[in-house]
Symmetry: C2
């Protein structure tokens, strides 16, 4: 039997994965170059390139010009998290989404916030606190600062029925963002809002969104105990 022609990049990728998995190409090994594989698989080099590039993107291969392509010795797993609008996250679970604004004020933020956002320490920002609900139960508390210098339109919005989460996506373009996940102990106020005992462990997502050099908004989302952020490898 001769090898079947692999004439699409997914078939090539599958075959490469099979060889890695079967240890025909063990971790750290140098694999044939694109041109040779193209001949072996009976396809064009571009097709091989597409397949290998996808595997390199996912961390399974290390590719370097001249040095060639190696099976990653210790693959860095790339877990992709889909950070969706909270309403979609809740509705995606088949639950009814609810939203409740807790407070809205223009105020000078704590130094930690103005520092992270790069705004003057005495500059007032728009401060929104809100509760997201799933099937009527608290799902997450949102504590957000909005840079009104970058998004002046926000001063005219009450955020009583539209969450800042969604409003900003529609009205404020951004170019970059930082996200950090951590575990924190709930303070009395947040615990009360989430309707759980104080000093419980909460899952926190901190996001800072930028438009070029300027910070657009900084938000902390706190999820009650039991919340899990899931993904696959």
């Amino acid at each position: 039997m001769s090898a079947p022609r692999l004439n699409n990049w997914q078939a090539v990728q599958d075959e490469v994965l099979r060889r890695i998995h079967a240890r025909e190409w063990p971790p750290g090994a140098l694999i044939p170059n694109e041109a040779d594989l193209a001949v072996e698989f009976g396809c064009s080099r571009a097709t091989v390139n597409r397949a290998l590039r996808a595997l390199a993107d996912s961390g399974l291969l290390d590719r370097r010009r001249k040095a060639g392509t190696r099976v990653a010795a210790q693959p860095v797993a790339k877990a992709t998290l889909d950070i969706a609008v909270i309403r979609h996250e809740v509705e995606g679970r088949g639950q009814a989404y609810g939203y409740q604004r807790l407070s809205r004020a223009e105020a000078v933020p704590p130094a930690a916030v103005s520092g992270a956002m790069g705004t003057a320490s005495d500059r007032p920002l728009l401060h929104i606190r809100a509760l997201h609900l799933a099937d009527g139960r608290p799902y997450a508390v949102e504590d957000r600062w909005i840079n009104t210098g970058v998004v002046p339109l926000a001063r005219a919005e009450g955020f009583e029925t539209v969450s800042a989460n969604e409003w900003l996506l529609e009205h404020a373009p951004y170019t970059h963002g930082d996200i950090a996940f951590s575990a924190v102990m709930l303070g009395a106020e947040d615990a009360g809002t989430l309707d759980v005992a104080p000093a419980e462990a909460a899952f926190a997502i901190d996001r800072l969104t930028r438009d070029g050099p300027a910070a657009v908004t900084k938000v902390r989302l706190l999820f009650p105990p039991g919340y899990q952020l899931r993904t696959t490898l």
Copy 2:
């Protein structure tokens, strides 16, 4: 002035990003098809395709055959987390990595573990507990169950100096994995191991690794308060 020729896919991507950001192509808008853009940009359709496909992968565009390409109304941010070997994570911070095995035993796991791994409820698995250190201080506690039915070689390994984390990458192939992130309150034992007060909030990473249908290993990593998992958008 006429538009400069965009003869590489990154330049095309940048121009498309610029138009989205400048609201020339607002959220939800249908953008020209690949062939038209190729003419406008003075490059081949394949180059346009590469640029648009990359943007679609990152969630900024929605592409459907016949329906065309639209700017995503509410971009689902794809945050990519690099889940590296813990030693690399520590060394990447410029700290000295240390490893300490706490215990090793073959034992019948709790029902929750055998259930998640799909092993018989009375089947003994290899149970490893270990501590990862950064600059001599506790960095994370690892609590792992290994399916010796799938990785029999593990029974011959003491894991006294090599962490299961790294040993398994070298010796046990896998095809899929699930990861969950959550916040938990530390029990007395784990708190003691991490040298923090009990009932503190810890960041937990639970990972289940499979090779086809069979579970290879299930691990929980607990990080002391202050730990943050970071990424960018």
